[in-house]
């Protein structure tokens, strides 16, 4: 068993209203950032987990995403797993 670290980035699917991104973009525009074209706001989750292999760590992270972290209807995820605590 070794310790792995998984980094999960969760963003809204294209076409789903990103109200946070919209609000942040318009604030930044008001603050003078005219060259900003788009802002999308998502979530980021870091997990430390014990697994027998890199693959097992990845599978576990996938299933954690399915079970709790990600709402498939509207969100998509990107997962990266590295070795070490």
């Amino acid at each position: 068993m070794a310790v792995y670290r998984a980094f999960v980035t969760i963003t809204l699917k294209k076409g789903v209203l990103d109200s946070q991104g919209k609000a942040v973009a318009s604030s930044l525009h008001d603050m003078g950032y005219g060259k900003l074209e788009e802002v999308r706001v998502g979530r980021y989750v870091e997990l430390a987990l014990e697994a027998a292999s890199h693959d097992e760590a990845l599978t576990m992270t996938e299933s954690i995403c399915d079970d709790l972290l990600v709402n498939d209807l509207i969100e998509e995820r990107r997962i990266e797993v590295v070795t070490g605590p």
Binding site: G15, V16, L17, D72, L73
Partner: protein, 716 residues
């Protein structure tokens, strides 16, 4: 395109063809498919809804507009309605529940009313199931997440758990707003020459055909319903509320309409039909979130936080600039003309041209066969003698108190802002919720009730009992009922016994509304709440709204003081059939609930109201779920003092303590009011049952529960 793909039946398709005298286009078929879905046109329930009494002294607007309106004095009115968001919440609990709250608030807003208070009715599956916990958490978070941010307090609600809701949790959202009666908005005031504007969020692909989806049974793989979920943005909604009220106040708009199910189509065609005008829509002018949307997608999108406005041409610029001030998008998307056609153009060509009245009112009604369920008699087959008397009454009472239906709701209502707007006189957790109407100094009392178990056992009696419960609660608080809104949550109407249950329960509700002079002013129907595994219990939910002219006429609860005498009004022998106790102890649902006596109900209402108005009691609580024992325990807990209860037991003690049904209440009366109180209730069953004092609820001969034990069982 095949009409069935659009969700139409053959006879519906024929009706469209013969009205048009031509073949409908694909776009028209899709539009009609959604508009003639159960959710939008009530084709299965319309004949039943006609049973409801809809007029009365206080009714200013009955069913037919976005919300009903009752007069509350001094030229002010209360607009209110309850609406279901069951299917979306089953698929996507947070977003489904959140957009349910957003949607009902816009219905209130569309009447020109300032949304002032919300309530939520929730039915969840088996409390022990992990799936239930996940759904419940998501749904509650969604209601709070939306309601808290828009600044409309959630002042109460109702939650129950039963395995019948495992696959189909119910989310019924109620909202009430205050409106000046001479400034009410209406869908029937559009005139030729005026402009059609779209205010609020850009239109995207979310929730397309959501209405049709809400009218079908949920597939076993709910994830397949993906694209139909709507996403809410309470921030945008808050701006929309303020903008619309400001525009309305400034006299800049002629009419407004929220965009709920079927979005632009339903809102614009409804105005056209109700106002007797034609409307031309230019879909190229609709601000889109995604560029490549098809005409039908734009027409049917259920993107949230949008309102349709009808504006005089000379006021358009003013409206557009106000919108900018609020940071909202606004565009002119059409014209009002003479005639009765509803047309939509895209890229210069007409994609749909339909008679406006056909869209909203033309759907042929469905008359499903009704048949009394074969097992009805066996549902009634129950006698209390089937239940052993508990050997430890204290343990039994504590366990009942701790059962999920009666208690442990703090995690729910503490996650809602119940106080914003400074109107909440009595928030969540009591038998009614009470708000102050600052505009005229009066109070409104609201009671949400549903009793699906009794409704299942005897639909007529259960339906009547549901309405009666709400009215009793109002009366005990001192309120005069003004009107009622209902949400009819049922499984599929296409099975004869299920349709019979629907019809009978509506009949029971309607009779009770009529006899107790509480007209139905708005409502909603949600059918097909079933899957191959489960079907929900017949679940009519009502919210009755009542008026208290002066705050001194409000009788509160949980206010016992030492030395007060306790009285039970109403029968001592009610029924265990369909009670919380039966459910909790035996886990069965059997027996026949009590029949309703409207004369007795009316007498109770009158006497309860005078008890409050003449301040004859210190504390009053209607007896509902869990019976007398639970009413006593809750009063003890909230008052922070015990009582000695001593009463003759003419019947089985479990029936006395835990029985439900019928007009009953528990009062605490101070010594100097005893005589007047007794006189007030003369000729009605009245039993003095004890005296307030001590550190425990002591029920002589049965049990004694300390304050600490009660609080602990109640989970707070």
């Amino acid at each position: 395109m095949d009409y069935a793909k659009a969700g139409l039946r053959r006879e519906e398709f024929e009706a469209i063809r013969s009205a048009l005298k031509r073949e409908p286009t694909d776009c028209e078929l899709l539009v009609m498919g959604v508009m003639w879905s159960e959710h939008c046109c009530y084709k299965s329930s319309k004949p039943l809804l006609r049973l409801f009494p809809t007029s009365g002294d206080s009714v200013v607007q009955g069913p037919g507009e976005n919300a009903g309106v009752v007069a509350i004095g001094d030229g002010w009115g209360a607009a209110f309605k309850v609406e279901s968001h069951n299917h979306p919440s089953a698929v996507s609990p947070y977003q489904g529940a959140a957009t349910g709250v957003g949607g009902i608030i816009r219905d209130i807003l569309a009447m020109g009313a300032r949304p002032t208070a919300s309530m939520d009715g929730l039915c969840f599956g088996d409390a022990q199931e992990p799936k239930t916990r996940r759904l419940a958490r998501g749904i509650v978070a969604g209601i709070g997440g939306y309601g808290n941010a828009v600044g409309v307090p959630t002042v109460g609600g109702k939650t129950l758990y039963d395995k019948a809701y495992n696959d189909n949790p119910l989310v019924n959202a109620f909202s009430l707003g205050i409106v000046r009666l001479d400034r009410m908005a209406s869908a029937s005031t559009a005139r030729p020459g005026q402009k059609v504007l779209l205010l609020g969020a850009a239109t995207g692909r979310d929730g397309i055909a959501g209405a049709a989806f809400a009218s079908a049974e949920l597939g076993d793989d709910a994830k397949a319903s993906r694209p139909q979920v709507q996403i809410g943005d309470p921030f945008e909604e808050k701006l929309l509320i303020e903008a619309c009220l400001e525009l309305h106040e400034a006299g800049l708009i002629v009419s407004m309409q929220d965009m709920g199910a079927a979005g632009i189509t339903s809102s614009s065609s409804e105005i056209a039909a109700k106002s007797g005008v034609a409307i031309d829509l230019d879909l190229d002018a609709v601000p889109l979130r995604e560029g490549d949307m098809e005409a039908w997608e734009i027409l049917l999108s259920e993107s949230q936080e949008r309102m349709l406005l009808i504006v005089l041409p000379e006021k358009v610029d003013a409206v557009l600039s106000q919108a900018t001030r609020w940071g909202l998008e606004c565009a002119v998307i059409g014209d009002v003309r003479e005639g009765d056609e509803w047309t939509a153009r895209k890229d210069g060509t007409i994609v749909a041209a339909l008679p406006a009245t056909l869209i909203g009112e033309g759907c042929p009604e469905l008359a499903w066969p009704a048949r009394e369920p074969d097992d009805l008699e066996s549902r009634w087959d129950f006698g209390p003698e089937e239940m052993d008397l508990p050997c430890d009454w204290a343990a039994e009472t504590k366990a009942l108190l701790a059962s999920s239906d009666l208690t442990g709701k703090n995690w729910i209502h503490e996650s809602y802002d119940s106080m914003v707007r400074l109107a909440t006189v009595e928030g969540p957790g009591g038998p009614v919720s009470v708000i102050r109407v600052r505009e005229n100094g009066r109070l409104l009392s609201m009671a949400m009730e549903t009793d699906p178990r009794k409704t299942f056992l005897d639909p007529y009696r259960g339906g009547a009992e549901t309405v009666a419960r709400a009215i009793r609660a109002l009366a005990v608080s001192g309120a005069t009922p003004l009107g009622l809104t209902d949400c009819l949550n049922y499984p599929s109407p296409e099975k004869a016994d299920q349709f019979w249950e629907l019809a009978e329960s509506v009949r029971g509700m309607a009779d009770c509304c009529r006899e107790l002079a509480c007209p139905v002013v708005s409502g909603n129907v949600s059918l097909y709440n079933e899957t191959s595994r489960h079907r929900i219990l017949p679940t009519p939910l009502v919210v009755a709204v009542g008026l208290i002219d002066d705050p001194s006429e409000l009788l509160r609860w949980g206010r016992w003081a030492k030395g007060d005498r306790l009285f039970l009004v109403g029968t001592v022998a009610s029924s265990l059939s369909g009670s919380e106790y039966q459910q909790h102890r035996l886990g069965v649902l059997r027996g026949r609930p009590l029949a309703i006596s409207f004369e007795m109900e009316q007498e109770f209402v009158d006497k309860a109201r005078s008890t409050a108005h003449l301040q004859l009691a210190r504390s009053g609580r209607p007896i509902a779920g869990g019976g007398l024992a639970v009413a006593l325990a809750k009063e003890t807990h909230q008052s922070g003092t015990g009582a000695l209860v001593h009463m003759a037991v003419p019947t089985r003690p479990d029936v006395l303590l835990f029985g439900e049904g019928g007009p009953r209440a528990l009062y605490a009366v101070p010594a100097q009011k005893l005589e007047a109180f007794r006189k007030n209730w003369a000729s009605f069953p009245l039993t003095e049952i004890g005296i307030v004092g001590g550190e425990a609820l002591h029920i002589r001969g049965l049990c004694s529960l300390t304050l600490a034990e009660i609080s602990q069982s109640l989970g707070r």
